[in-house]
């Protein structure tokens, strides 16, 4: 009656920890295994083919940890690789695009929705397509904001530079009169105040992490794979690199201390093949 296997969550880096935070808040009995591909971050500037290949490797890595569900916390991977993953694998795989789209359609009053994200996400038109499928009278304004990620990672969350960059990137959103704006990248919630200031207080900013956690809960119930055990679950965090400022950035995203983080040897992570899923263990 209780499925104690963990939920696997992956992202191109640490940004997906905002999704982990919401999942843990909403589902305190669930165990999480997280993988951040910090050695190959970012995904947002890379081709669909390469992101799909990375996403398969990330999924195979999590499958080694006997997960019951995969959450793709990365918007780029959700936009360009989710169909690929769901065609390949049997277990439930949830992306962040669908929850963001639902939240935006709930929020908008004038049916003018904005979406900002990486080049990969925007170029894929996945958000745009899904918004229009779900409500054909909606008008979508989409803009790639490539400098938002390095600004957030540099910790320049405030001040003249980020304001000026936000002004340039968000100009089309203001001219397009959107009344809800999807933050289509896990880094962007860090720039929430600057983006809100630029857009004006009436515009609803959609951070998909919260909506995502609700979607996870719903799916666990639907499939009858909730963890009903009490007792504090143990979460595990894996990354493919631990650069200097890793913990600092990671804890800013997660909103709490990271007890232990394990660096996965790239060689072994790269060498995972489907046949090994059930018998291999990461060093």
């Amino acid at each position: 009656m209780s499925d104690t296997r963990p939920i696997g969550i992956f992202d191109s880096g640490v940004g997906g920890l905002t999704v982990v935070r919401e999942v843990l808040r909403r589902l305190p009995h669930e165990r999480v295994v997280y993988f951040g591909d910090t050695a190959r971050v970012p995904y947002g500037t890379k081709s669909n083919r390469v992101v799909q290949s990375f996403a398969v490797q990330d999924t195979l890595f999590l499958l080694r940890h006997d997960v019951k569900m995969i959450v793709v916390a990365c918007h780029t991977a959700s936009s360009v690789a989710l169909d690929h993953l769901t065609q390949l694998f049997r277990l439930p795989i949830l992306g962040v695009v669908e929850p963001g789209v639902s939240a935006a359609l709930k929020a908008t009053r004038n049916n003018r929705v904005g979406i900002i994200g990486t080049r990969g996400t925007i170029h894929s038109k996945t958000y745009e397509r899904l918004l229009k499928e779900r409500r054909k009278e909606v008008t979508v304004v989409a803009t790639a904001c490539p400098l938002f990620v390095p600004l957030a990672e540099e910790g320049w969350l405030d001040g003249e530079v980020v304001r000026m960059v936000a002004r340039i990137y968000l100009d089309s959103m203001i001219r397009g009169k959107v009344d809800s704006l999807i933050l289509g990248c896990t880094h962007y919630p860090l720039l929430f105040p600057v983006i809100q200031e630029q857009m004006g207080s009436e515009v609803v900013l959609i951070d998909s992490a919260e909506e995502m956690a609700a979607g996870v809960e719903e799916r666990l119930k639907k499939d009858g794979i909730e963890n009903r055990n009490s007792g504090p679950p143990e979460h595990t965090f894996y990354v493919s690199d631990i650069p200097h400022q890793f913990r600092e950035i990671g804890e800013r995203f997660l909103g709490r201390e990271m007890e232990s983080v394990t660096q996965v040897d790239l060689e072994s992570a790269d060498l995972i093949h489907p046949a090994e899923i059930h018998d291999a263990r990461v060093k």
Copy 2:
């Protein structure tokens, strides 16, 4: 009397094409095989251990193409992985740090030298150590400028944002009264005008690519491995990813058209082992 094998040049991405340009200009008889690790770019934000592992894979890839020399065009890899590579491999391996240091020591009159680069490069203190080893009375001012790479890739080479970022990053250089400044990243020459404007016209900016090409020539002569064949050599370019704006950025760096670029399958590139060097061929 003539060694027709190519020179192997690698970088984390397309930035190293500025080095290719200078090598081709200076050594028109030499063939070049280039590898840009565009699937895992950037290296500058990652740990030494991961960059060393990538650098070994990049070198092994070039060795498959029977190169006579390796040029590490990436400043981060040159700073944190060159010793590792020269300890592992027999063939001559040249980095970009040494030529930059020589040029700066030639240029400075007040013995106050600035160095800007990625976090990885600056954190390694490789430039600093080498400058002081070569001239102990030199004062070094070092600053990481993480936003310069995304700004250059975004094509924001001019205008208010890049000026403001340059003003913030270069403030310590101006206060430190450096009279020569090493551009310690292959992307930075694209920002040459903005950096020069900020530093003032008396400060000499050191772009290591030219000096690097001179170093390559010298080493080829010393080892007696020059290519004396006439006839136009054929160059080959490999990358691990071809994202949307690849050709545009690449040709901006190379300063001429790229005839053909081959995408290397990540899986096979990752699976290179020393034993395979001489019998394996990339798909």
